[in-house]
Amino acid sequence: MIAQHAAVLVVVLPLLCAPLVALLRDARIAGAAVLIIAALDAALATLLLCQTLDGTVISYALGNWAPPIGIEYRIDLLAAAMACLLSYAATLVALFLPVSLRGTIAPGDQPRLFAAFLLCLAGLVGIVVTGDIFNVFVFLEISSLSTYVLIAMGAGADRRALTAAFDYLVLGATGATFFVIGIAFLYVVTGTLNMADLGERMATAPKRAVIVGSSFIFVGIALKAAMLPLHRWMPNAYAYAPAGIGTFLAMTATKVSIYLLIRMSDFVFDTPGEIGRVNFAALLPPIGLAMLVAGSVIAVTTKDLRRLLAYSSIANLGLMLVALGLGGIAGIAAALVNLFNHAIIKGGMFATTAAVLHRRGTTRMDALAGLSRDMPVAFGFLVLGGLALIGVPLTAGFVSKLLVVKLAFEQANWLVVGGVMLTSLITVAYVWRIVEAGMAAPAKTAPRHDLHPAFLLPVGLLGAATIGLGIWSEPMLTLAGRIAAQMIGGAP
């Protein structure tokens, strides 16, 4: 029965456990509960992945109303893989979330924070598995609202979390409204909300309405994806959110937006690589390149490690957009490999940063002095992640970058080749700022006091995956290739 209903349970489990967790009084019990729920969710997502691995598309009619009358959950390989990413990320973060919150958030408030965390997870998974465009909006709002609150919880350590959350709220709500306007235009000319159905009916719809509708959806997603020039909310949000939450967001939030972009470019609009009949794919490489350069350059100048990593995320999102813009099965596959690898790499780095923050209370660059001596393990993982960001061979980052560059090379797109390669150099510059900051002599010598044990497993697993996927990239490539082929409808 579970196997049959996994499609809906993967969303409903965290969704319905959240109110229960919110009512708990003991922060420790709540923390353990979140971990168990997230792990169960990960198991469900894995089950879905197994079910869809052979190309099956699971269609689950909620309320047993056949689409397009009712809402459909439609899980193809992409959705299942994303659900896995989200739930694994939540599980790893749940491992250290209670520890990282200690001291900044009163124990009495923690159960509610955990509940919001579960709601955020449920919302994101809901976006990923649904086949109904309005349902996307509803779950987008669940995840967004909980995200605003989670970010604001960073105020216990830094009051700027409040303004960061507010900025995100205004931008997020505006983006969501744009999304809804887009849906209105598409609905008015097609009469349906089911994405697959929409895709079919779009072919005969009036062109202008489709263009405007897809443009508004695109802008709405772009806001959420922190696309240049709409990226300003993101560094603050990542830097001031509680460290564990920042880690989760870095691994998931913008990735889901990229997912939507991929989904929309195929599912709703049914024109591979193009959104609607305006060629949005052509927009992506320039935007992506601009993000790549701007994100990297700003990262070099930041004075806070988490902010640096956030700008680096903007650069990496740019890389994904570039890959997506290159088009075709290979382009989507490269974007997906980038997406998953970056989630792993950046997740590991943010988790390590959370560990550093937990010990030191700050992540300012000048406060990292002596890190290599006091926290050698944490420092090692930071360096490892940094190398992966640069794209040093034997790390996952090398694979993802090489795929993009090779693709651009084959298409003789020299601008992309040059842009990606040159930004590697800027990446070296900002990664080496971390390394040198960590090696600088500390003002006063502290006793060696490495990561709290709670961080070891998540940090270690993500670090191992960073190296593992850099050497043995075949599973990831196969997965991405199959997803892309399924999206475009060709043979893998």
């Binding site: 034997l394 090489l402 090379f409 390669m421 050497i471």
Partner: protein
């Protein structure tokens, strides 16, 4: 053990050594014993590999496939084995020297030092055994990164700045031109396997091939072709044993070795010889002369040696650019001979520093009297590097002259002659100053003896033996050079020896 096992052992043994070093870091004696044992083991392994090498039966060993067509593969072949032999052979000597040097200097972070050293050797072995350009690239990057902690060892501001420069040059060149050239090759030829005769002939026009060769020549930053040589003097902030092994042997030789491999197995010697390499000839020759001239102006001993290295490396690049079997043979010999010669010189410079705390040419007047054996070795090393008989360094210079005149490049012949004179001009004065000048004669700022903080320590035996041995090696190699040439001759299509 089968050749495959031996290849894996050669890479994994230093890795295991590094692990053991890290684990035994608390007791220096055991740690250093582990280092020496690892070095001995590696030397034996590589010897076995060389002795048992048979071109007919050598099979590739695929380890992993990072991307389809971008495989990690090992394959033993003569040029690589020669490089492996040099690196493995000198690691043991250098370890002995390191022990003497690091203890005398009371250096901190010695565990990290020895562990990274072992890791660097592992990477060097992987470079030597690489069966594809992809493998070579991966190992090349690893070598850059594991040597960073060695360069930055003192972690002073100067060291951090120097190491930053080191890393910036090497990563920048490898991530942009080198990787770009590899991708280009990959897409043009469809493979990255090292194949005798090359894989690019007919795939690209000669004009494009010239560009590609230049991309490679500058992409391989470790070859320190001017004007991208700046990292090499910058890296001299490292402890002297690091400069000795890495910046005379493992790292820089990995660079020129990469160029040799690319010339032989990616381009094909004939392809380069038919004109593709001509631009590079000019650049390399200019690099030889310019670096030699700069070396003459340097007062700091290690800086002088660093520029000397730049010049000598450019000679290998020159050999690659000439593109005839004879020139390639010369390049390989230069790789070997320069390694032994230059490590002797670095050992000498370091020993002088230990014994007298002096680093500059202008300060060392007269110290040779106290260190006769050391200075004798230094002289041998100098003459070998300059290319005078009866030392090993004579062979590559001689063969290069032959190769140049065989292609009627008489201007180049002149250049090479000039370079030998310049080499003598910047190396011999060190010996002369140390032995024949009286203390204080040249240096108005010289302090009376005994004023230094540490005082003049006696030279530890462990810091004296290695230079003497390597100096002797220079002589032995003079005799052994034809054997080396015979070993590599089939791979580079070299017929009868001249």
């Amino acid at each position: 053990m089968s050749p495959h096992d031996l290849m894996l052992t050669a890479i994994l043994l230093p890795l295991a050594t590094a692990l053991l070093i890290a684990l035994t870091g608390r007791s220096p004696n055991i740690r250093e014993a582990v280092t020496l044992a690892g070095a001995a083991g590696l030397a034996v392994t590589v010897y076995e590999l060389i002795a048992g090498f048979d071109a007919a039966t050598a099979q590739p060993l695929v380890i992993a496939e990072i991307l389809p067509g971008f495989a990690l593969m090992l394959r033993a072949e003569p040029i690589g084995l020669v490089f492996a032999g040099v690196a493995a052979g000198l690691w043991g000597l250098n370890s002995l020297y390191s022990i003497g040097y690091m203890r005398a200097e009371h250096a901190p972070r010695q565990t990290r030092f020895y562990a990274c050293f072992a890791l660097a050797l592992s990477a060097a072995m992987a470079i030597a055994m690489a069966g594809t350009l992809a493998t070579l690239f991966v190992a090349y990057e690893v070598l850059t990164l594991v040597t960073y902690p060695l360069v930055v060892h003192w972690q002073t501001e100067g060291a951090i700045a120097g190491a930053r420069r080191y890393l910036a040059y090497l990563l920048a060149t490898s991530l942009v031109p080198f990787l770009g050239a590899i991708l280009w090759t990959w897409i043009a030829a469809g493979t990255l396997d090292f194949t005798p005769g090359g894989i690019l002939d007919g795939k690209l026009g000669d004009g494009l091939l010239t560009v590609l060769l230049l991309l490679f020549a500058y992409g391989v930053g470790k070859a320190a072709l001017m004007p991208l040589h700046g990292w090499l003097p910058a890296a001299m902030v490292a402890p002297t044993p690091v400069s000795a092994l890495l910046h005379a042997v493992a790292v820089v030789k990995a660079g020129v070795f990469t160029l040799l491999k690319i010339a032989v197995y990616i381009f094909g010697i004939d392809v380069i010889g038919r004109g593709v390499g001509d631009v590079l000839i000019v650049i390399a020759a200019a690099s030889v002369i310019a670096a030699s001239v700069i070396a003459m102006t340097k007062d700091d001993l290690k800086a002088r040696l660093a520029y000397s290295t730049v010049a000598q490396l450019a000679m290998v690049t020159l050999a690659v650019a000439i593109g005839s079997p004879l020139a390639i043979g010369a390049g390989i010999l230069q790789l070997v001979m320069h390694a032994w010669g230059k490590i002797t010189l670095f050992f000498g410079a370091g020993a002088i520093q230990i014994a007298t705390h002096k680093k500059k040419l202008s300060e060392i007047s007269g110290i040779g009297v106290k260190l006769p054996l050391l200075m004798a070795s230094f002289l041998v090393g100098s003459l070998s590097v300059a290319g005078l008989p009866p030392f090993g360094g004579m062979w590559p210079k001689f063969l290069l002259l032959e190769a140049a005149s065989a292609r009627d490049l008489y201007l180049l012949v002149g250049c090479l002659g000039l370079s030998t004179l310049l080499t003598l001009g910047y190396l011999v004065p060190i010996f002369v100053t140390a032995v024949f000048r009286k203390p204080g004669e040249d240096d108005p700022h010289a302090l009376p003896e005994g004023d230094h903080g540490h005082g003049d320590g006696p030279l530890p035996l462990l810091a004296l033996i290695p230079p003497v041995v390597t100096a002797a090696g220079c002589v032995v190699l003079f005799v052994a050079a034809p054997a080396i040439l015979r070993f590599v001759a089939p791979a580079i299509g070299l017929g009868a020896l001249p």
